[in-house]
């Protein structure tokens, strides 16, 4: 299923806001977007037809979006993004804890909302989506599905596949997801080794060096996976 064909329901008690979101989604190419102003209406609409995504407010007069979400989750498995004026951490944690796919606070930028909606849709309906662009690092392609780095054209040994170890795979995935950003030593070590990561800095260095051997032309003077002194590492775009 293509993103744009997804049926999206916006539930918010403010009509103007509903219209704006509808507008933004339609502008971006989404084809089937509807909105309603209360959980009551939403229940009816959900009963009538099939929906692929719900953007849900939390505060409704007389009803609570969390409550509605729980009831919904028990019946159907539809991805939900909370869009709420409640910005306390507790609310965020409640929303995500109940199993929502994302939690955004108002005020928000429409662009960010679009990105998040699309990301969730991609994640949820990945199987039916068309092939993703291969991830490239210089002259090499990374195939995360297969867990290998492939040497692309123009290089000696074209098409050769270099397998990644488990830790290298985890690290490379993090770098690719946050490409161009500095990732701190702590973040990397914690993601790979868990919360008790102290003392893993040296091990991390070893893994980075091994990873460089697989993705860099010249591992001793890296072009892509750069050390940021005292902070961490960055995978250049």
């Amino acid at each position: 299923m293509e993103c744009q064909k997804a049926r999206i329901l916006i539930v918010d008690d403010n009509l103007e806001l509903c219209q704006m979101i509808e507008n933004v989604l339609l502008q971006d190419g989404f084809l089937r977007v509807s909105c309603c102003l209360s959980c009551e209406e939403a229940r009816e609409l959900l009963g009538e037809s099939q929906w692929d995504f719900i953007i849900l407010d939390v505060n409704f007069p007389g009803e609570n979006g969390f409550h509605f979400f729980k009831e919904l989750k028990a019946k159907k498995d539809i991805p939900v993004l909370f869009l709420s004026a409640r910005d306390r951490d507790e609310d965020r944690l409640t929303g995500l804890g109940l199993g929502a796919d994302d939690y955004m606070t108002k005020p928000f930028l429409p662009k960010e909302l679009l990105l998040r909606v699309k990301a969730i849709l991609r994640r949820t309906y990945r199987g039916s989506e068309k092939e993703e662009e291969p991830l490239k690092i210089g002259g090499r392609e990374v195939d995360l599905e297969a867990g290998v780095v492939r040497l692309a054209g123009g290089l000696p040994g074209k098409g050769r596949e270099i397998p990644l170890t488990n830790k290298e795979y985890q690290l490379l995935k993090l770098f690719l997801e946050n490409r161009g950003k500095i990732l701190t030593l702590d973040f990397l070590a914690e993601t790979v080794w868990g919360s008790n990561y102290y003392g893993y800095e040296n091990t991390l260095m070893v893994h980075i060096r091994k990873l460089r051997e697989k993705i860099e032309e010249n591992p001793s003077s890296p072009q892509w996976l750069i050390t940021v002194k005292g902070l961490g590492y960055r995978l250049n775009r």
């Binding site: 005020p107 930028l109 701190t184 902070l231």
Partner: protein, 459 residues
């Protein structure tokens, strides 16, 4: 409580001093009076003078009745007689009839020492004859002391022991009574201490300290009421701000959203798109402002509970710096950040609200970017610092410095950070106010100089 013990000791010392002064004064007085009466005008001495005078007059042989009577009257005596060696009365002046008889040696020895038929008498040797001068009954008191020297020293010893014992007893009384008052005062002082720590107190309203207790109880009630009123007002203010910042979110979403939509609408001309962009940017700022306002009011009135967790300061700093560097790349201007974390701080954890601390670090780093649009070099240094407190306690601080080579902090803001002086309303200090509140809420310290801020967080 220390001062109270001092007061108590001072009281004991002063009472003891007073007792000694009193005692010595008494002794001096006794000595003075005794000397005055006994040596100069003492009755024994006076009587001797008259006896000598009378004896010499009688011995001279040339005397008259009147002369003798005159001397007797002057001495205040009632009678006089002279006994010869056999005890016969051969001269008599105003001698009562019952005394006019012969005296044997035993009687003479007795009255010379004590009384003659209850008349106090003075005897004087007159060439073998005895001159006896009798005074009115009850006019003199005579007492002879005879003691062995052994007994005398025992007697003196007993006197000294008695004196010491009574002094000790007095001292015990002084200390005992003082202690009773000390104990009563202690409860009062403790109550005052509690009041100053915002605790409620209740004291007995009867007894010596009843009145003080009553007024302290009343003070406690008044303070409690004021605290409650203040707290209710603070809560009202905080929830009001929280409500406003909640309600403003939906309208702001619309302003921000349409601003962005218009900014990106290709059909609009360049100028209008730019203006729409400004609307978006400014509403983003309003968003930040209301979030800051909400947080600062919660921190100010302690309505933001610290969600304490085990936080690694060096990791948190690296996170904040990495974020700032990632963002600075988008800003265009150059903000090189130099991060130095001392080895001893590596892996050190504190119990703290990590989100809030991260917020503080972010604000400090953002300020460097926000107030130096042309770029500046930022330096972040972190080290552990030991400090010996006055009470001997050893404090270990994480010392975090955020300095930059930019325009520098305005003097007003330095004043606000270092001395808490509120700057004029024109100066925007929300970000630093939040930093200060967060650091203080963690028991830390904050200080400012022109080129940056220094934080101290207890480890």
């Amino acid at each position: 409580m220390k001062s109270l013990i001092k007061i108590y000791l001072k009281y004991v010392v002063s009472v003891v001093v007073i007792a000694f002064v009193f005692f010595f004064f008494q002794i001096l007085l006794t000595l003075y009076v005794g000397v005055k009466l006994n040596l100069n005008e003492g009755p024994a001495e006076g009587r001797k003078v008259y006896a000598r005078e009378l004896a010499s007059v009688l011995e001279s042989g040339a005397w008259t009745e009147e002369q003798i009577e005159g001397i007797l009257a002057e001495a205040g005596a009632e009678f006089a007689m002279v006994l010869d060696q056999r005890g016969e009365v051969f001269l008599r002046f105003g001698l009562p009839r019952e005394l006019d008889h012969r005296y044997d040696a035993g009687t003479i020895a007795s009255f010379a020492r004590w009384y003659l038929e209850d008349y106090p008498v003075t005897c004087w040797d007159m060439n073998g004859n005895l001159l006896v001068i009798g005074y009115p009954k009850g006019s003199y008191w005579k007492y002879g002391v005879v003691m062995t020297t052994d007994n005398l020293s025992k007697y003196m010893m007993m006197l000294a022991i008695g004196l010491l014992a009574s002094a000790a007893f007095t001292l015990v009384l002084i200390i005992g009574f003082g202690f009773r008052y000390y104990r009563k005062m202690k409860t009062v002082v403790r109550a005052i201490n509690d009041l100053s720590r915002e605790k409620a107190v209740w004291l007995q309203e009867t007894g010596t300290m009843g009145e003080i207790g009553k007024s302290l109880n009343q003070t406690s009630r008044i303070l409690a009421r004021q605290r409650e009123t203040l707290q209710r007002r603070d809560e009202a203010r905080t929830s009001w701000i929280s409500a406003v910042s909640h309600d403003i979110r939906t309208p702001l979403s619309l302003i921000m959203g349409y601003g962005e939509i218009l900014e990106q609408r290709p059909s609009l001309d360049e100028d209008s798109r730019k203006k729409a962009g400004i609307i978006k940017e400014q509403s983003l700022q309003i968003k930040e402002l209301i979030e800051d306002l909400n947080l600062t009011s919660k921190l100010e009135y302690n309505m933001q509970p610290l969600r304490k967790e085990t936080v690694c300061l060096s990791a948190l700093l690296r996170k904040a710096v990495a974020e700032a560097m990632n963002r600075a790349e988008e800003e265009g201007a150059a903000y090189p950040i130099q991060l130095e974390i001392a080895q001893e701080l590596e892996g050190k954890t504190v119990q703290a609200d990590g989100q809030l601390l991260l917020r503080a670090f972010r604000n400090l780093l953002n300020n460097a970017v926000k107030h130096n649009p042309d770029g500046c070099a930022v330096s972040v240094r972190a080290a552990a610092e030991k400090e010996k407190r006055e009470n001997g306690e050893q404090m270990v601080w994480a010392d975090l410095e955020f300095y930059n080579s930019g325009n520098g902090l305005p003097g007003e803001i330095e004043e606000f950070i270092n001395r808490g002086a509120e700057p004029d309303s024109g100066t925007h200090i929300m970000g630093l106010r939040i930093v200060k509140q967060i650091i203080l809420a963690h028991g830390g310290e904050i200080s400012a100089r022109t080129d940056g801020i220094e934080l101290k967080i207890p480890l």
